[in-house]
Amino acid sequence: MAEDSSALDRGAPVFKASMQWRRLKSHFFVVLGLLSVLLGIVTLLVLLADVIIQSTGWLDWQFFTSFDSRFPERAGIKAALFGTLYMMVFTMLMAVPLGVMTAIYLEEYAGDNWFTQFIQVNIANLAGVPSIVYGLLGLQVFVRWMEMGRSVLAGSCTMALLILPIIIVASREAIRAVPPSMREASFAVGASKWETVRHHVLPYALPGMLTGAILAAARAIGETAPLITIGALTFVPFLPEHPLDRFTVLPIQIFNWVSRAQSEFHDLAAAGIIVLLVVLIALNSVAIYLRQRLRTRY
């Protein structure tokens, strides 16, 4: 192959005939590619090792059952855990029905017209809006105009809007994956549009939708900036008992501890990060499990 290339050389003077050199470049590129991947893997491992080492000794039962404190040895994440839980319950209660309904409309009902196009472009753009801008929206609309105050409910509404595009996109994909023959069979025995969607499309799309919802939840649990913007507190020595109570969440608690100067608080932040990562890994594992099950369904 390489020997014959001398005939071609007259026309292409830049072409290096050395096959060895050309092959070497391929190998060199593989090394570069692997190094790039390695940067990601090493970062991840170093990060994990660091938070595990830093948090040793801090991650005890007292850490889960105490409120935040000026004294690092007495500080804990009780308020943050409950705040995250409350906020997520309200967020998902709002975002999942709205997202799924929007997806059903776009996939099953919407005609191919400018209005549908507009909604689609709009959802794509909303997915690209920085999360802190959602925080400003929540601050102005929910906290100020709707007078919810800097409450769990205001945080949930903001977060619901933030993850809505994710849920819509995932639900649409799940609905689209349901074969048209299912719908046609249902129509053929006289089912109406909604009966078809309700009894045949939705059950089959459910695992996919669930996966999307869980991934969206994972995103919301780790999100910090919009909640700081709407004014979630960083020091909360109480449990929220009412949707209009003030609150804090896990990432804000971590942010608060990272921002303090004493290194003990940085260790507390590492302990908080472990809890946060364990929750996220658990959620993602469930999502991956559901995705695998879905794959074997058809």
């Binding site: 570069l32 794509a124 102005q140 809505l164 700081i228 993602n284």
Partner: protein, 313 residues
């Protein structure tokens, strides 16, 4: 609605008719309910526009837009207030530039490696790693930048402060790698197989196929992924709030504390700023700028892909 009336079946009774009517009514009601939820996304967009621009206009009724765009000092929280946006803009640009300098080469290399060189088994290992990397909350990356990367940089670089743009930028770059890799890989994956086979048929090596055939064919998608990464970097908040500082300095020195646009919004939000105060309005002015900057980039990226996509049959 045609009723099929055969002599042997019973005629549709009143109750059958009303059942059908109520079923149709229900169908229509459901359609409109679904339509209403679908329009919520449009309401959200308008909500963002109105809440941002309303407060921003009030801000500019107190502060001249010329001062905002020409002054180089930003001290709205001090006694002597100056409202020059430039320190925040340069800080944002500096961090984003560092982040892209990390994310674009690495992300692109990973994308090319995964789609053109790696075996399926290697790909199955690497992709989940990238997904995990993309799923780490930004506050965790902020912790990582401040407590781990900065001390390491301080060993090597003289004059490195605790809060600096370099550390935040590098970590933000690592955070964005998965995004660049996945978007570029999509673009590369869309290049038809026939192009590769044609090049291989002419005796090209893998490297030559990847760099001289596949990448040029996927260039529009790759550029778009870079622009979207920039948009992401500009809007990223927690890493810079934690690791880059809260000093609005008009500088391009990556070793000193600065304050990005997003970090300023966080700084003001942490204090209980009363509604309708000038401080409250500054975050909306900054937020408006942030929104339109990222919006323009996102639109540009989508337009660019459509405009410069190579069409193959």
């Amino acid at each position: 609605m045609a009723e099929d009336v055969s002599p042997f079946s019973h005629y549709p009774s009143r109750s059958d008719m009303s059942k059908r009517a109520s079923r149709n009514l229900k169908e229509e009601a459901i359609r409109y309910a679904l339509l209403a939820t679908a329009t919520l996304s449009i309401v959200t967009t308008f909500g963002i526009l109105f809440s941002l621009t309303g407060e921003t206009l009030l801000f500019f009724s107190e502060v001249s837009i010329i001062e905002f765009l020409t002054e180089t000092e930003w001290t709205p929280l001090f006694l002597i207030k100056k409202f020059g946006i430039w320190p925040l803009v340069t800080a944002t640009a500096l961090v984003a530039f560092i982040a892209l300098a990390v994310a674009i080469p690495t992300g692109l290399l990973i994308a090319i490696y995964l789609s053109e060189f790696a075996s399926p088994r290697v790909r199955d290992v690497i992709k989940p790693v990238l997904e995990v990397l993309a799923g780490v909350p930004t506050v965790v990356y902020g912790y990582f930048a401040l407590t781990l990367v900065t001390p390491i940089l301080q060993e090597f670089i003289p004059g490195m402060r605790i809060f600096n743009a370099l550390s935040a930028g590098i970590v933000m770059g690592i955070m964005i790698i998965p995004m660049v890799a996945s978007l570029s890989e999509d673009a590369i994956g869309a290049v038809p197989q026939a192009l590769r086979e044609g090049a291989y048929g002419l005796g090209a090596t893998r490297f030559e196929v990847a760099l001289q055939v596949v990448v040029p064919a996927a260039l529009s998608g790759i550029v778009a992924s870079a622009v979207l990464a920039l948009s992401r970097a500009v809007g990223e908040t927690m890493i810079v709030s934690i690791a880059a500082g809260q000093n609005p300095t008009f500088t391009l020195d990556p070793r000193v504390p600065i304050e990005t646009m997003t970090a300023y919004i966080v700084q003001v939000s942490l204090g209980d700023t009363p509604f309708a105060s000038l401080e409250y309005r500054t975050i909306f002015a900054v937020g408006t700028m942030l929104f339109f900057l990222t919006f323009a980039m996102n639109i540009f990226a989508h337009w660019f892909v459509r405009r410069f996509r190579e069409e193959y049959d």
